[in-house]
């Protein structure tokens, strides 16, 4: 997330090097994908914990 933030900040201050920018955009895409996957995995883990908690409920 921190890297993504840095890249976004970098993209906002214009850079002349289009190729560098393009690389950064690619990296940002990757990172966003990783973040999405992490979120999904975490959500699954949390849902599993909720499932385990279920028997306590009346």
């Amino acid at each position: 997330m921190a890297e993504l933030k840095t890249i976004l900040d970098g993209l906002n201050s214009s850079s002349p090097d289009i190729d560098t920018m393009e690389k950064q955009v690619e990296r940002a895409r990757e990172l966003i994908q990783v973040c999405r996957e992490t979120l999904t995995k975490t959500d699954r883990a949390v849902q599993a914990v909720f499932e385990e908690m279920q028997p306590c409920n009346n």
């Binding site: 955009v25 940002a28 895409r29 966003i32 409920n57």
Partner: protein, 385 residues
């Protein structure tokens, strides 16, 4: 010198006496001796003591003929609950009799049992007054009665049916009782010293007991006069353990009953009382257990409810967090895509550089400069005119 034969003298005395005391007389006295013989006659010694009951003021022989005795003794027993015996104060109807051979003797023709009963009542009253004056009368009653009176020092006659009843009753209950018998006479002259001795033996093992039970066996005798004793009542009143009396009485309470922590009518009633104490504790336990169950359930339900609430809150919080993060990622993605140079070029925009420097303004180039214009699919090189 004129003289008389002894017989003549005594015969004259007899005639004088019979002349002076021709009737029957009601006389108050204490029986100090009472003996019978084979023919059924009863020979007594009657005395009168001074106010303190110590010095003898008068003493004489008396007799109850067998024929009189049969009716009198039965009537006396019926009315007082006690046989005529030594130590009793009696009101007797007598005829003065003098015999030259046997001397002075009173022939008892009747006895008034109500006088003896009255005397007992007075004696009981005196003892109670004395115990009250000494401040001991309520001491045993003021002892806290044990919550679980299970260790019982029993004072009784081991052969008594009442003792057996007591034990049977206790063992039929669902509770465990530990009893220890301290044998004692519980009627007659020996009752007082033998019960006092039993109390002494109990004191030596006082830690082993919760209560003292004084029970009298069943049987024919209803004589309770031995329980109207000052030394006995005083010892029981001041005894360090609560005393439960079950000595049985058909008439008024004895002094022992008055000072005992709890006075009951029979050994069976005494056992019932002890069992009822444990019943009460048992019921308290049952209610306490029920209360504990009820409160635990309520508490558990409350905790479950709280957990459910937390669970829901946590679920919502997590959903919110997830959504926020996803939303942020969407925004960033959009941001990134918006900033992708390739995407810009795709839309038709181009980027112009001159000697590697990005050109933003017209003034940054001059005629003759070679410009590189980057498009989506390639680069155009051109010259400024």
């Amino acid at each position: 010198m004129e003289s008389l034969g002894l017989f003549q003298l005594l015969q004259t005395l007899r005639e004088e006496l019979e002349e002076s005391f021709p009737d029957e007389y009601w006389v108050r006295a204490e029986i100090s001796e009472l003996k019978g013989n084979a023919s059924g006659h009863r020979y007594l010694e009657l005395v009168e003591k001074d106010k303190d009951g110590e010095a003898l003021l008068a003493r004489t022989k008396a007799v109850i003929w067998a024929g009189t005795w049969r009716g009198l003794s039965a009537d006396f027993l019926l009315q007082t609950g006690s046989p005529l015996s030594v130590g009793q104060q009696v009101l007797v109807c007598v005829q003065v009799n003098f015999h030259p051979l046997y001397g002075l003797s009173l022939v008892i023709n009747d006895i008034d049992p109500s006088y003896t009963l009255g005397d007992w009542a007075r004696r009981r009253q005196d003892i109670l007054q004395r115990l009250k004056a000494e401040g001991v009368i309520d001491l045993n009653k003021e002892l806290p009665f044990p919550a679980l009176p299970q260790r019982i020092a029993v004072i009784s006659s081991p052969q008594a049916a009442g003792y057996e009843d007591f034990m049977k009753h206790l063992s039929a209950s669902p509770y465990a009782f530990y009893t220890c018998l301290f044998p004692a006479m519980v009627q007659g002259d020996q009752a007082e010293p033998s019960i006092l001795a039993a109390l002494d033996r109990i004191v030596k093992r006082i830690e082993a007991f919760d209560v003292v039970v004084l029970i009298r066996g069943g049987g024919s005798s209803t004589d309770l006069s031995c329980f109207d004793s000052y030394p006995l009542a005083s010892a029981l009143a001041q005894f360090p353990l609560p005393v439960v009396s079950g000595i049985g009485h058909e008439r008024d309470k004895s002094v022992v009953d008055e000072v005992a922590c709890v006075a009951l009518k029979t050994p069976t009633a005494t056992a019932d009382y002890l069992i009822s104490c444990l019943d009460a504790r048992w019921n308290e336990l049952v209610s306490a257990a029920e209360e504990l169950r009820r409160r635990s359930l309520t508490c558990l339900q409350q905790q479950h409810y709280l957990l459910d609430t937390f669970h829901l809150k946590f679920c919502h919080a997590w959903e919110n967090l997830l959504q926020t993060q996803r939303h942020r990622l969407d925004l960033w993605e959009r941001d990134v895509e918006a900033r992708s140079p390739r995407e810009q070029l795709k839309k038709g925009f181009s980027i112009t550089t001159c000697r590697g420097k990005l050109i933003r303004k017209v003034t940054e180039v001059k005629p003759g400069d070679e410009l590189e214009t980057r498009l989506y699919d390639g680069t155009i090189v051109s010259m400024v005119k």
